[in-house]
Symmetry: C2
Subunit: 701 residues, 2 copies
């Protein structure tokens, strides 16, 4: 009876129990890689023993934790085996997953995707157990689903394991597929441009999150051509580097590029079928509430913290970040002022020796400090109690960006807005304090030199630290913790596992931040040195490949994740484009030959220049957005098309399902409309009556 009612909506559905003889059985699952091991869970426990009692206690805890962990895996229906780690005090749990278990998670995701609009094709639902589709799952999808099983709460059938939350669980990571990795590197090192096809291969191996980074890097690399060409042009034809039309072009370029990328990432998300996937809100396992309350949405007992407390913490973390940023600011400024002083004024003893002191500061002190800062803000962000990974992510990203902003741009702002306008005022003091000094003219050149330092030296150094250092480290026989090391295994597979356990996790933030900061050099400062874009483009062509090598060879395999855009980094780019309208306007005005830097009106008029320029930016942005919105979004059309087809299918089935009923309802005696209209139901005369009245009006007869 009940089955009658709705089955008509789904004629496309096939029996969900494939049997031998079923055409969809004529296929075979791919051979498992890495001996069918998807994830490695690293267990680490301290083995220093303050006292025997304590050690005993600890040992029991570890054993208990291990048992708990294994029972969790058992319940979740995963395969696992335990191995000794290479270092003392570590164990490795190797996890695998059968296709049967995978199918279950897969079907859950499909249903959810359909309901969230990630996937509007209901025919996919018809066939949740089609093994053929299981067999076609990309490695990334497989690993993502297995990771879901590992981390989802028990009530959703997951093992609910997460590092740092479960005791002694240090990390969880998937194993590299060396074959595909090498294939990837070989192919990319051979070609000039990365195509969408290449990105698809990448996506199949590492998932959308990584694929999006490379897609962004690639499109940015291509778009850089515009400022590169313009920059070279300026460099060739103009004797001065500050050219207003170039500045305007860069402003427009910045706006157009950000808008174009917005469009591009929507298209990519559609092509990769991850649109709206951000609607899958995953609770952060690390989020442990004070009490538990019935969740408004799921109706389950959920960790809960009162809102005012969360807001309070978010509020308090702002000064927290401010302090960190301030200290960093102090240090950067000190190092920089020292450098200025030594390079520009000082001519006392040890000049040459002292000359290199600041560079040391740059290459040693500042990196260390910013590492400290990023650890500090990580603590803060955790303290802010974010409920979802997404919100944690964007909060952390913003904080990271601030630090890099300071380190990368502060000295340039200082030179442009403080040192050059007011630098000469320092000399008298030096005289009075009788520090031996030589007068150097304080001028625009200084700003350009600093920019060149960042864009050329900086990026070369960056490349070396990113690639060469790990390469050498990998080459050196690292004797450091050999004492900790034990059983030198011979089994090549276990060797591989040990090697990857020893690797760092891949940190996508640093790679993004590098690119966004570079985008800042181009859009905010390249007006000072038009060849900036050229250098950046060259750097990025290498970056694109070195990052690929880094991921494959020098870091653990990242856990595949679905994302539908580059998230908060876009906001940072837009902020930079806005700032570029300020910086470029101020530079153009301040360093224009006709400007008297020492006039008291200069500051005011500079501010006015900035004011106008900002409004110009808003205007350009408005225009560009309007232009973009005028053109239809391909992805949007695709989406609508599928939605329409789906609708049609359902509509047809609904109406086909019961014409009889409609008739009956129509003729139904109950329908009061029939009663009131009964005298007018016959419309045969209506036409003639109308015609008569019309003739009357015209009175032709």
């Amino acid at each position: 009876m009940e089955t009658e009612s709705f089955s008509h909506l789904f004629p496309t559905m096939v029996p969900s129990t494939p049997d031998v003889g079923d055409p969809r059985m004529t296929f075979s699952f791919p051979e498992p890689v890495n001996q069918g091991i998807d994830y490695v869970i690293v267990i680490r426990y301290p083995i220093t023993k303050p006292s025997v009692a304590k050690a005993q206690q600890l040992q029991d805890n570890v054993i208990q934790a291990m048992d708990q962990l294994m029972s969790k895996l058992q319940k979740a229906g995963l395969f696992y085996k335990v191995k000794q780690g290479q270092e003392k005090g570590t164990l490795l749990v190797l996890v695998g997953c059968s296709y049967g278990r995978l199918a279950k998670q897969f079907q859950h995701e499909k249903v959810q995707d359909f309901l969230l609009g990630v996937n509007v094709d209901d025919s996919e639902l018809g066939d949740l157990h089609d093994k053929a589709r299981l067999a076609e799952l990309s490695e990334a999808d497989r690993l993502r689903l297995v990771h879901d099983i590992l981390t989802l709460p028990a009530n959703q059938g997951g093992a609910d394991i997460s590092p740092h939350v479960d005791p002694f669980v240090e990390s969880i990571f998937p194993l590299h597929n060396d074959a595909t990795d090498d294939e990837w590197i070989r192919s990319w090192s051979k070609k000039w441009l990365i195509t969408n096809a290449d990105l698809d291969i990448l996506r199949a191996a590492f998932g959308e999150k990584i694929a999006f980074y490379f897609a962004f890097l690639q499109s940015y690399l291509v778009w850089l051509t515009v400022p590169t060409v313009l920059g070279v042009l300026v460099h060739v034809i103009s004797d001065r580097s500050l050219v207003s039309w170039y500045a305007l072009a860069i402003l427009i370029w910045g706006v157009v590029y950000t808008e174009a990328w917005k469009r591009k990432q929507i298209d990519l998300a559609a092509a990769w079928q991850v649109r709206h996937c951000s609607k899958h809100e995953r609770r952060r396992a690390a989020f442990q509430g004070e009490t538990t309350v019935r969740d408004l949405i799921t109706g389950e007992e959920m960790p809960f913290v009162p809102y005012w407390k969360i807001i309070l913490r978010r509020g308090l973390s702002v000064p927290g970040v401010a302090v960190g940023a301030f200290l960093l600011w102090i240090i950067v400024t000190c190092v920089f002022i020292l450098q200025l002083f030594l390079h520009e004024y000082y001519s006392g003893p040890f000049k040459t020796a002292l000359h290199y002191a600041p560079t040391l500061g740059y290459s040693l002190l500042i990196p260390v400090m910013s590492k400290l800062y990023s650890q500090w803000v990580r603590v803060l962000t955790n303290w802010e109690m974010h409920k979802t990974e997404t919100s944690w992510d964007s909060a952390y990203t913003k904080k990271i960006f601030i630090a890099n902003f300071l380190v990368s741009y502060l000295s340039l702002f200082f030179i442009a807005w403080v040192y050059i306008p007011f630098g000469d005022h320092v000399l008298p003091f030096l005289t009075t304090m009788n520090i031996s000094h030589e007068h150097k003219k304080v001028d625009f050149q200084r700003l350009q030199d600093q920019l060149v330092y960042f864009v050329v030296t900086g990026q070369v150094l960056g490349f070396l630290t990113e690639m060469l250092v790990p390469y050498l480290l990998a080459k050196l026989p690292n004797k450091i913790w050999t004492d900790k090391k034990q059983n030198q295994v011979t089994d090549p597979f276990i060797k591989k596992v040990y090697k990857e356990v020893a690797m760092d996790e891949y940190n996508i933030y640093t790679d993004y931040v590098e690119m966004i900061i570079q985008f800042g050099y181009v859009s905010m400062f390249s007006v000072v040195w038009p060849l900036t874009a050229l250098c950046c483009q060259l750097n990025n062509w290498i970056e694109l490949r070195s990052d690929a090598i880094k991921i494959c060879k020098y870091t653990r395999r990242p856990i595949p994740a679905r994302v539908e855009n580059i998230g908060p980094w876009l906001d940072n780019m837009e902020t930079i484009v806005w700032l570029s309208s300020i910086t470029m306007a101020s530079f153009l005005y301040l360093f224009h030959p006709s400007t008297d830097l020492h006039s008291i009106y200069t500051p005011v008029s500079t501010l006015l220049a900035i004011l106008l320029s900002e409004h110009l930016y808003v205007l350009v942005r408005f225009a560009v957005q309007a232009a973009f919105s005028a053109f239809p979004e391909r992805a949007e059309l695709m989406m609508k098309r599928n939605m329409y087809l789906l609708k049609q299918r359902w509509m047809d089935r609904v109406s086909r399902s019961n014409p009889v009923l409609l008739k009956r309802l129509d003729a139904s005696a109950q329908d009061p409309l029939h009663r009131v209209w009964k005298d007018d139901l016959d419309n045969s005369g209506e036409s003639e009556r109308a015609a008569q009245w019309i003739r009357q009006d015209f009175k032709l007869e």
Copy 2:
């Protein structure tokens, strides 16, 4: 077989053929109002006859058109009858709809709503023919669905009739329900505040579009309390009216209010179950392409115009609007300058007589001109070839807003930024041209007077023209076109129909624009006269009620429409808040006692004040938005909750449906994972092995 496959997803479904004995049959449809007539189609044709042949020709066209119209109605399955109009050359087609036909449209909408996420409750789908739900349909919903049937294209089962597109079809409108109308007016005239319950009643009668207008009006009325109180406070305690803390408060108030309204309208949309309803994109019938092409989405032959042409037209219509606005601007300025001259300088003959000339200009010339303007931009907007009603709407709204902006604010800007700073420079010219004049001190007072004129006189005049005039017109026996009139009917119902045919259509734009412009007086100018908000609040308390009367008594019943927000008006409000940061800053600086209006630096420093104030605005806006986003949206939670429940239902059914299969797949010999793991499937020893290794590490024994 096929029914097997998916029915398990929908156990909640009930048999879709209600029969006698079915519990859901124990109900009765409401009695039809207006003799079961939902819509009146007004047919109007010219009856002046240049020549008999032409008249003959025309007459035949009309008759043919009528036949076509009626066959369309027939095909769509609607009831109809034709009546003579009150005036010569008019016919009325009275349209009704049976519940059977309604049910079909209703079920289509339900399916579409579910797929578009307007409605996430699939149980509703189970039961598309539940007559009880049909019987519970509000009048507004009923009329909306019938209007859909009237206007939808034939391939979607509609009659595809639309005014000005079908020949001689002048208009289509629904009939008032006098009983509910009177009830509404009675109840609102009795109470001080309009509650959500009142809005629900309103919505049931007139649909969401009207309900949203009144909801907005109501919330605005309430929020005005803040500036009212502050304003009175300033008026009492401060001797000067320009108070900076008041200005700041107003800026913050403006931002907070717009954000709060955004939140509010989402909540309303959720409560009224119209969220995402804007995704129903309805093609404008008036959009006639040059060619027809297969539509990318529907795959049907659709009218098509190449994009470049549309963009071209949109582009060209900008100067079109500009010209119109410019002419309007000229006129407003002339009238205003004349007024200034006569009031402030002139002391020659006929002074008193001439004194009133400008007022005439304001109350006659300018309204006429702005009417012309709005007709002009209507033409332009049609010329822009918008495909959907929504996009037409927002394009038209923007243009309308510009005109009202000019008329309402221009003279204030002129006084504040031109007349007061430079007004005294005029006197010498007057002397040289020996026009007899008296020197009045040009000062801030003049600005205040003008504002008071707009806020007090203007609004009173507005009220009179809006209410009193139509009231009187209704009272007067209008003898104007009695010649055209024919058959003085006695049937009271036909009388009622004639009365409503004679009415104007309700124009929601004018009502919105009135409120938004008023919002501008409060946020941009009230710093000049702090009692502004008080007057506006009083006015709006009346406005709320007079608008209700207007809709019921003096205009045709509006066609019910679903909307999920107030659309483009919100953008206009945000623009105004931004501008208020400019105006208030400039006023505060310019009219500060310490400011020398005639210093050459004043303009520059004013600009700086504006620059700072604008950034303050951006900052405040950012902070407020962050604060709002910190609190969860109730509507959002509701939505997620329903989505979650839906998901759970489907999930449960999916997994319940075939545990057997999963088992089989699990144990399947084909599953290569089982092969590679076969030696490790028994984990009984694992726990002990792990424990041993751990003990080894601790070496306690």
